[in-house]
Amino acid sequence: MSWFNKIVPPGIRFGDRKKRDTPENLWVKIPETGEMVFHRDLVTNDFVVPGSGFHMRMTAAHRLRHFFDGGVWDNVALPDVPPDPLRFRDERRYTDRVRDARAKTGLEDSVAVGTGTVEELPMVAAVQDFDFMGGTLGMAAGEAVIKGLQTACHLRRPFVMFTASGGARMQEGILSLMQMPRTTIAVQQLREAGLPYIVVLTHPTFGGVTASYAMLGDIHIAEPGALIGFTGPRVIENTIREKLPEGFQRAEYLRDHGMVDLVVHRHQLRPTIARICRILMKVEAPAAAAPVPALADLSQETAPPESLPIAAE
């Protein structure tokens, strides 16, 4: 049984604010904006800073809880992979880095996969957790993404991929690079099964992840302000020795350059994805579906819809 199931047994709802572990008086400083925010306010607002609308990174657990109806999902068991195939060592042993990342995140590796419903429509979602070695794509993450896509094929559900990654995991060398064609094969299988593939690009998504399954969706959605690209901005700056343009590689920049369909505020993700998937799956909208905001409003702050679970931990 994975750690998710231990602490989040299926069926438990996350609407009870009394259960949180964080003291109510804890203030958090947002490094990117310099704002001081009440931690509880961050959690209840799905890690969107209330003042500036800045979208903070989310852990895999918070993301799945936020995404699925009632904050309830089932974990998909993920395949085991050979540990440390190259016996890699940089400043530290790779095995030590993995052990620390596991302790820090409670995850086996950087990708978690869950099944559940979104506005009553069954879906499969995979989430990359940036806190696990920068969300890097190694063998375990590659197998998890493949497993997620194949689970969606098997259950005949849409697949939603939340990306967040620095790119390939250097410590697994060529076997990391091989996850690009391997995950691409699974994307092709989903496509052949006629099922929707929705990519949600979150901050940050780079390298081999962007250059494989993250850019092969039927629909590409990005969270506001997310940095997305192939080569990281620092490397580009060092290579060409030029100042990068304002807003370079931001979600809005990608949308304006034709790589992203929609920039969607986190509070609008669930209804937007549900609506798109219902249309692609030719499913009628439920009577209680959230009202459709004007397209221009999708990237703006709105009141969380009624069906949104209030996460509290």
Binding site: G173, Q188, A211, G229, F248, H257
Partner: protein, 317 residues
């Protein structure tokens, strides 16, 4: 004038002596010096084979990047009759970092794609040192799709340090172009064969290397990133490139052992650049044998076998 790599210096010194003696022999006692020349030449040959029998991964990286190493156009010139390079992605521009064209390989009509690094300053600039922008990958995608429609096998020759890291490349969707090219390779109903002839660097390489058969020249390297980039990511400065090259397992022996490549194409002692014709012929023989093996397979089988091959990577280490 041939250029020598640093670790070849003992051999280069011996060669220098041979040249000196040859110059003397034209004026002095030719017979006595002739023996000495023969002895030194044999010693030099022995030394070179000794050096090359135990190259470190970093030394191999230098051989893989050797400026005289045969490049894409050397291969097409020798192996592809009626080679007709085609230009442009039909969307934005032509990118000569990736060459793509039609021709006949040992009588068989084929499509050929690959990175070209250039062979002198002028051509290196024209080919952007083999680092492609999105247009290069979109041209490769276009050509592969055309090959699929006309039932032509695709030969891919990989030789790039990586995709070009620039503002313009990002602006036009470098990642999407690479992803789409990889996807197109994987979806082909015609056989494709990829050979890493020099550097197989990162996503820029895999974009055209997701093939039914993947081969690698003995001293080529194939890696998730250049050793320099890995060094700056993992050690936060570029001075650990040698260590990165060693730890990342980028040599042909490593990749054969990891079952990422199907076979190694041997190079002559001293590297491909010393006997380009032999290496190119051996590469042609390997490609020919691969295409013969795949002859007669249905489109579905070709696609299925390619998928199974890639999905198996890493599962049976």
């Amino acid at each position: 004038m041939r250029s020598y790599l640093e670790f070849e210096k003992p051999w280069a010194d011996l060669q220098g002596k041979v040249q000196e003696l040859k110059a003397i022999s034209e004026t002095g006692d030719a017979a006595a010096i002739g023996d000495e020349i023969g002895r030194l030449e044999a010693k030099a040959a022995h030394l070179l084979s000794e050096i090359y029998s135990k190259l470190t991964p970093w030394q191999r990286t230098q051989v893989a990047r050797h400026q005289d190493r045969p490049h894409f156009l050397d291969y097409t010139k020798a192996l592809i009759d009626e080679f007709t390079p085609l230009a442009g992605d039909r969307k934005f521009a032509e990118d000569a970092a990736i060459m793509a064209g039609l021709g006949r390989f040992r009588g068989r009509p084929v499509a050929v794609v690959g990175h070209e690094k250039g062979s002198d300053t002028e051509s290196r600039i024209r080919h952007n040192f083999g680092s492609a922008r999105p247009e290069g990958y979109r041209k490769a995608t276009r050509l592969m799709e055309m090959a699929d429609r006309f039932d032509l096998p695709v030969i891919a020759l990989v030789d790039t340090a990586g995709a070009y890291p620039g503002i313009d490349a990002e602006e036009r969707g470098q990642a999407e172009a690479i992803a789409r090219s990889t996807e197109t390779s994987l979806g082909l109903g015609v056989p494709n064969v990829a050979v890493i002839i020099g550097e197989g660097g990162s996503g820029g390489a895999i974009a055209i290397a997701a093939a039914n058969r993947v081969y690698m020249l003995q001293h080529a390297i194939y890696s998730v990133s250049s050793p320099e980039a890995a060094s700056s990511i993992l050690w936060h400065d570029a001075s650990h490139a040698q260590e990165a090259a060693t730890n990342m397992k980028i040599t042909s022996d490593d990749l054969l052992r990891l079952k990422v490549v199907d076979a190694i194409i041997e190079e002559p002692v001293g590297g491909a650049h010393r006997e380009p014709e032999a290496v190119i012929r051996a590469t042609g023989d390997t490609i020919d044998a691969a295409l013969r093996e795949l002859d007669g397979a249905s489109r579905e089988d070709i696609r299925r076998m390619r998928r199974e091959k890639f999905l198996a990577i890493g599962r049976t280490l």
